[in-house]
């Protein structure tokens, strides 16, 4: 077989193949979007906690404690934990997107499931911490 018969090494790429190589595949987009819904719910929970926990009654009497001179009873909301809980789903989703780049679909799914499990686990840890102090 001659080189002419086998054709050139770099074959011309059709428009459909080129488009598939340029953009992400449909399956990956669906998985990423579906995962985003679940991560969005985690984000919603975290924002709800960020708003509602500081309104808890135990954080409302600080001015009174200050006036009567018992500063030791004053308590401040666990801002660091609440903010970390808000950042967690966003960071995990972006991390999963970075890890899932240029991988087969099943690995993309696995990356997002692992990231979602991480968010679920760490969120419960943060919840337990906020309620324990």
């Amino acid at each position: 077989m001659t080189a002419r018969e086998t054709g050139p090494v770099t074959q011309p790429v059709g428009p459909a193949v080129a488009a598939r190589r340029r953009g992400p595949r449909v399956g990956v987009v669906v998985v990423v979007a579906l995962a985003a819904v679940f991560f969005a719910y985690d984000l919603y929970e975290a924002i709800t906690n960020l708003v509602l926990v500081p309104q808890d009654v135990r954080y409302q009497n600080n001015e009174f404690f200050d006036e009567v001179g018992v500063d030791g009873l004053a308590a401040s909301p666990p801002w660091a934990a609440l903010v970390a809980n808000v950042l967690l789903p966003v960071v995990a989703w972006v991390g999963a997107v970075v890890v899932a780049r240029r991988r087969p679909l099943w690995q993309v799914v696995l990356a997002f499931v692992a990231a979602l499990a991480l968010v679920g686990s760490v969120s419960l840890t943060i919840t337990a911490y906020v309620l324990s102090i």
């Binding site: 690995q107 696995l110 990356a111 499931v113 499990a117 991480l118 419960l124 911490y129």
Partner: protein, 163 residues
């Protein structure tokens, strides 16, 4: 001191003869137990020994994983399983229900999905790390294992707060 008996030298000669015979016999046994070398007519050159394949071959098992990495996999796999058990034990403090309306039911379902994922998270992280981080990057794999072991430990068991 007395001289040895006249029969002694003869006996000594006998002994020497016996010893030589015995040595010949032993040599034959040794030959049977050895594989021979290049000078042997039946010698066939086999593949190079494993230890000569590469510079790190001494440290590598036939599967391509170093023994330290293998031990790391075992340790972190055990930690992941124990963490799953820890989450399973502490699940009761997180089993919530938000109410009866449709929206509340969706919220409850999503919350319980989160709890279920938290229970299996250590095992999922372990398996995902093995499948997504190539075996050749064993140090990165062990690092990801370690991050998972710390982040996904059943901390609510230690902290004690309930939802």
């Amino acid at each position: 001191m007395t001289d040895p008996s006249p029969a002694r030298p003869e006996a000594h000669k006998h002994d020497e003869h016996d010893e030589r015979d015995e040595r010949d016999e032993i040599d034959e046994h040794d030959d049977a137990l050895s594989w021979g070398d290049e000078r042997d007519a039946s010698h066939v050159e086999g593949p190079a020994p494993v230890s000569q394949i590469g510079p790190e071959a001494d440290d590598e098992l036939p599967g391509g994983m170093s023994s330290a990495s293998l031990v790391g996999h075992g340790v972190f796999g055990g930690v992941a399983l124990l963490s799953c058990v820890g989450w399973l034990v502490s699940r009761d403090q997180f089993l919530l229900s938000f109410g009866g309306s449709a929206v509340d039911r969706v919220q409850t379902a999503l919350w319980l999905l989160g709890v279920a994922l938290a229970i299996v998270a250590p095992a999922v992280w372990f398996v995902t790390t093995i499948l997504l981080v190539p075996q050749s990057r064993s140090s990165r794999r062990l690092l990801v294992f370690a991050v998972g072991a710390v982040a996904l430990a059943p901390w609510p068991l230690v902290i004690g707060g309930g939802a």
